[in-house]
């Protein structure tokens, strides 16, 4: 056969094959009868609550009929059902006020994620191998009930533990109640970017163990110490809305906003004045502004000129109402509690508490005790329930969380995805997505009015999943010694206990005890590890728990325009000194290990600091996050804040080594600019 004939024959067979495949495959698809009455082509908006952070923004979901691939009675098919298609802020909600952040907008992708777990699974391979087989709900619940019965028979109830994210809602209260009634101890709550330090400090400064709510709208002077309050910290949507009104909504009364920190964050970029300060000394600066320390004395320790401190002091004293905010990196130091107390002192000096344009604490109900992660690391339980939290990823390698979990004989994951923690599970009981379940929130801050809300499902479940509170209730009823007096469902529980906020005691008066300031302690000797390492919450991926959502991977970081990757921010003059160009691969080494990532030259970071966004570096977290970038948490030293035992994630020092030239791993949305032609896509020296 000559070449010409071969090509002809290939073309003919290829076309025939293509045409044979051109049937109408839709005729073969099983179509289930719709479970609800829907008006074709007409959208309705249903309320829900964004689950992605503790702010608890009220959202509305646009629901319209559509065809969805689902599992019903063990069969795959298509059904016409009401599907949530878009999320927006709920205009009736006092927190979100009709707005929603980029992360909240992407929350809809949780429900339709291609790697979402659709049915219960049991481990079939080695632990951590990620091999699971599908089982039925009856088998799964029987297996877990059996394990709990064994604990009960051995009178070892305390060997059951549950780990979850900290929350102040009814769902958390129900879970804590079930654990207590079984005889287990309080739930373990873990979050990398925990605000426990601030809560504790507020308890001693103001008598309220919670995060403050700021009346930015009416403030005339705002000074923020490291708090990324317009981006990732606390109730950022509520803050952003109020900030907009503070800047533009009051005619000519435009407030001044000063940001203090070691890195120009998104919030810092919005400020009128950015004051670069040495990490861990923000509180000292606050004391000087409050008049407790002399500007000349703190100037050298904070790295801020005495003249600037004096001016800030005068400005802060001259403008009322004024607020001082502290959060994020400024609290993540060994002296975090003193930093917070120092800033609280500034608020006392401004008489900001419970004043218009000041700060307040909203009444709280549902405050339920929780335990720190360390307790299960020290004494691993026999049965551990993991509720949508990933401590294996979001804790320093030095804590050896994975090793501790491997010592737990039986782990049950209640999450919707396989991640580094649930890969270690023996049993997976997947929860509904938030759009498919009853949800509730009682936000701790963000609105001056206490807001407590509960909403029903926005849509019916797509897969064979079950709501976690309902599963726990069912198991509690099915024990050998059933727990009596339980509600039939989470829905019934929410509706029965519908109550307004119970008021907490009024905030206490200023305490006159003198503040014992202590210098921050850093891990790593300054001569060997010359740079402060400042990991920060990613504007999109937050603490890494959102790295599986492709919209968020695709969203350019507002300060660098980087996406789908990790990067290290380094001062551009320092980089020039070290011979590091944009996109060069550099290695950061701490006493705990090292990571390699491309360099991003940034004029807005202190010369003795490098910063990295948290979020990437997952080894096993869906197709979109696995094997992408590096995890900066892994090289953090296990320094903790003395008073609370929480991780001081800004207290690690590193050294830098240039490894190689650009390797295209720095993906920037922005191209080169005329002023900075060297800022191209990972090609620094072209």
């Amino acid at each position: 056969m000559d070449r010409r004939h071969f090509i002809k024959l290939t073309a003919i067979t290829g076309t025939t094959a293509a045409l044979t495949a051109c049937g109408n495959p839709e005729n073969q698809v099983i179509r289930f009868i719709p479970e609800e009455d829907l008006v074709a082509g007409v959208a309705t908006w249903k309320p829900s609550i964004c689950p992605l952070c503790s702010a608890g923004c009220g959202v509305i979901a646009r629901v319209m009929e559509g065809d969805a691939e689902v599992f019903r009675k063990g069969q795959a098919g298509v059904i016409r059902m009401g599907l949530a298609k878009k999320l927006e802020g709920n205009p009736e909600d006092p927190i979100s006020q009709g707005k929603l952040c980029a992360r909240g907008q992407a929350a809809i992708q949780i429900t339709y994620h291609p790697d979402r777990i659709g049915n219960p699974k049991k481990r079939s391979g080695e632990r951590g191998s990620g091999e699971f087989v599908d089982i039925s709900w009856e088998e799964a619940i029987k297996e877990l009930t059996g394990k709990l019965n064994e604990l009960a028979a051995a009178n070892d109830h305390a060997s059951l533990a549950l780990i979850t994210k900290p929350a102040r809602n009814r769902r958390f209260a129900l879970i804590a109640d079930l654990l207590q009634r079984f005889g287990a101890r309080a739930p373990v709550a873990y979050e990398l970017f925990s605000d426990e330090v601030l809560r504790q400090a507020n308890a001693s400064s103001f008598g309220s163990q919670q995060l403050p709510t700021f009346d930015l709208e009416n403030a005339r002077y705002v000074i923020s110490f490291g708090a990324d309050f317009l981006g990732t910290w606390n109730s950022s949507v509520a803050h952003s809305a109020a900030y907009g009104r503070m800047r533009q909504g009051r005619g000519n009364a435009r407030a001044k906003f000063v940001h203090v920190g070691a890195r120009l964050s998104q919030t810092a970029a919005s400020a009128d004045e950015f004051v670069a300060c040495k990490p861990g000394t923000e509180g000292l600066l606050a004391l000087a502004i409050a008049g407790d320390e002399a500007p000349q004395d703190v100037s050298e320790r904070t790295g801020v000129a005495a003249g600037t401190i004096e001016r800030l002091k005068q400005e802060f004293a001259a403008h009322r109402p004024a607020i001082a905010i502290i959060g994020g990196a400024a609290l993540a130091h060994s002296n975090g509690s003193q930093q917070a107390a120092a800033v609280n002192r500034l608020n006392h000096a401004a008489k900001a508490l419970d004043q218009p344009g000041g700060l307040s604490f909203v009444p709280q109900s549902n405050v339920v005790a929780s335990r720190p992660l360390q307790e299960i690391l020290e004494a691993p339980p026999k049965v551990l329930l993991v509720d949508d939290v990933n401590p294996v990823f979001a804790s320093p390698a030095a804590w050896k969380v994975a090793d501790a979990l491997k010592r737990v004989p039986f782990i049950v994951s209640l999450g919707s995805f396989i991640d580094e923690t649930s890969a270690l599970a023996d049993l997976i009981l997947p929860d509904h997505s938030f759009l498919e379940s009853w949800v509730d929130a009682a936000p701790e801050s963000g609105s001056a009015k206490a807001a407590s809300s509960a909403f029903g499902p926005v849509m019916r479940p797509l897969y064979d999943t079950r709501s976690t509170p309902d599963v726990l209730l069912e198991i509690s009823r099915g024990l050998a010694k059933p727990i009596a007096g339980l509600p039939n469902s989470f829905e019934e529980f929410l509706n029965a206990e519908r109550s307004g906020g119970t008021s907490i005691p009024p905030a206490g008066a200023a305490k006159a005890t003198p503040l014992q300031w202590s210098e921050p302690v850093f891990d790593g000797d300054a001569s060997q590890y010359p740079y402060h390492f400042l990991p920060y919450a990613s504007q999109t991926l937050y603490d890494g728990s959102l790295a599986h959502l492709p919209w968020l991977q695709e969203t350019p970081d507002p300060m660098t325009s980087a996406m789908w990757c990790s990067w290290v921010e380094i001062n551009e003059r320092k980089a020039e000194e070290l011979g590091i160009h944009q996109g060069d691969i550099i290695e950061l080494t701490s006493t705990q290990g090292s990571v390699r990532a491309p360099a991003f030259l940034n004029p807005g970071i202190a010369p003795d600091a490098v910063a990295m966004p948290v979020g990437q570096g997952h080894t096993n977290f869906t197709r979109y996050a696995s094997g992408r970038g590096v995890n900066p948490i892994s090289i953090l030293a296990p320094v903790t804040t003395a008073e609370t035992g929480t991780l001081a994630w800004s207290a690690t020092r590193v050294k830098i080594t240039r490894v190689s030239g650009p390797d295209e791993s720095l993906i920037l949305f922005a191209g080169a600019t005329r002023e900075r032609p060297e800022w191209t896509h990972g090609r620094g020296d072209t």
Binding site: A18, N24, N27, F32, I33, V39, A40, G41
Partner: protein, 170 residues
């Protein structure tokens, strides 16, 4: 849709579910007959006094008339004509929780960016048969009227409805 001077589709796009479909679309031809999962007869139902809106319930209220699901069939056929083999067939499907997988007869090419809403046309007293042909003569629905842009524009002129581009293309 406006055609080129040779009567072919003005837009060539590979966005079709099959090569054959792409080729037919290029020639500007659309199938008159569409395969359906069930030999539903429009003429029997209309001759027994049923009206279009009995089954296509969305037509007066929303943009889409809606292709009725098996639940709609069972409203009447749980009692009427239960001895017929075809009715027994759908009764069985309904009991198994399965729906009829109808295929659309009328639709627009996505690249023409046309949106159509039924309800305003019904309010303007446009007869169903104007656009869908006389269903009394049809069993399963066939494409009786070729709805190209000329067809829409003519009727809009006659009825003095807006012929602004954004009325339909948005």
């Amino acid at each position: 849709m406006a055609r080129s001077r040779w009567g072919t589709d003005p837009v060539v796009t590979p966005a079709r579910s099959s090569v054959g479909e792409a080729f037919r679309a290029f020639l500007g031809r659309r199938p008159t007959d569409v395969d359906q999962p069930f030999p539903f007869s429009h003429n029997i139902h209309l001759s027994k006094g049923a009206t279009c809106t009995d089954c296509h319930t969305g037509v007066e209220t929303g943009p889409r008339a809606g292709l009725p699901g098996i639940n709609t069939c069972m409203i009447c056929h749980s009692q009427i004509a239960t001895d017929r083999p075809l009715i027994q067939q759908i009764t069985k499907m309904s009991e198994e929780g399965r729906d009829l997988n109808w295929n659309r007869v009328y639709s627009y090419f996505p690249e023409s960016h046309v949106r159509f809403e039924h309800a305003p046309h019904i309010r303007a007293k446009v007869e169903c048969s104007n656009c869908h042909g006389n269903q009394v003569e049809q069993t399963v629905a066939r494409r009786a009227v070729d709805m190209d842009m000329q067809f829409c524009v003519n009727c809009h002129k006659q009825k003095r409805a807006s012929n602004d581009c954004l009325t339909c293309h948005y």
